[in-house]
Point group: C2
Chain length 210, copies 2
């Protein structure tokens, strides 16, 4: 099946299902219904069954999903049954937090190199990484064939960094910069925007209470 | 109209529209079509018109949206035409990055206090904040009637912090912890999960290239 034939929004939900199944497995659970997954995620069970049906038949009516099997299938679909190298650009507070983020390796990713253009940061260590000069970025990325990068630089530098990453061969960017970076169509970008999350909750709050 | 009558996914897209309109306005643009917004966001123009139609008539056929007017309307709908106090829990690298995140104030939020339970962090300053002992959290949140909190603590502490926040009266939580926290139904939670973003992009990558 053409991977692009499946709606992006469906693909975007699969990691949520996988994260929830990982959690249930870690608690020793072996079977889960679409109702249980749905109630944990605030998604209808119908939606979950419909999303999964794009990829095959994963559960039997009435018995629920075999958690271990569905995890393996989702990891294979999302291609995280392997470990992807990730280039991290930005060695500030956020860069430090990301290097220390324990979940990457367990969920399919490994930070391969950390870059910054700040002379004061280059050469310093963050955990097991020496911060590399951003001018070496194209070379390192090409040599290691890295396809994924994380942008953790200030907004004003994000577009320049994104252009540099794309020229070096990066195909997918996770951006923490609070701007929408403009990229060629063949490059995927996912923006982490805390304000978006906050603004989608204030809609429901009662402003008179505070 | 009952706020809950509008699908959550629609509400979740409004901040994207607002962010894009803010950007266009900052570039001096005064009118935008649903096509232009759509192509910038990777959302169909039909979807955008449908989302906005829940709240009224914001554009005339053929002339596009008045950017300033639509921004004001969206800010009002999302209730970010005011400034919300936010409690930040966790004064590590991520907490530092969030305190220094310039976009909060401009987009409707103001960090009101920073908490940590680590003796080595309590009393230290991060920019204009003195890090407060987490045991004072209920008191401070109640006194200032804060309704929104950000969790920037390790996964293992997130549920405990979330429970404490809810007991103190918090109604909306933005969580950076890579676990799904369990909360009462009346409390909204939005999880920032970088792996989710990465995993939804690897689906489209060619693993043989790297």
């Amino acid at each position: 099946m053409d991977p692009l034939a499946i709606p992006e929004i469906v693909i975007g939900r699969l990691p949520l299902y996988l994260r929830t199944l990982d959690l249930l497995a870690s608690q020793g659970q072996t079977v889960a219904s679409s109702q249980e997954l749905g109630s944990r995620l605030g998604i209808t069970s119908t939606q979950i069954r419909k999303d999964l049906s794009y990829f095959g038949e994963f559960g039997k009516q009435g018995t629920g999903y075999d958690i271990q099997y569905l995890r393996e299938q989702l990891r294979s679909i999302l291609q995280v049954d392997r470990c992807w190298d990730v280039a991290l650009v930005g060695a500030g507070d956020l860069g430090h937090a990301l290097v220390n983020y324990a979940d990457f390796e367990r969920r399919g990713f490994s930070i391969a190199a950390v870059f910054d253009k700040d002379r004061q940061k280059i050469g310093r260590r963050i955990e097991r990484f020496e911060v590399l000069d951003a001018v070496t970025l194209p070379e390192v990325i090409k040599e290691r064939r890295v396809q994924i990068a994380i942008i953790a630089v200030p907004a004003g530098e994000a577009q320049e960094v994104a252009d540099m990453l794309v020229n070096a061969g990066i195909k997918a960017i996770l951006s923490y910069a609070p701007i929408t970076v403009t990229l060629p169509e063949h490059v995927r970008v996912h923006t982490i925007d805390p304000i978006r999350g906050l603004q989608s909750m204030t809609y429901y709050l009662n402003p008179d209470q505070s």
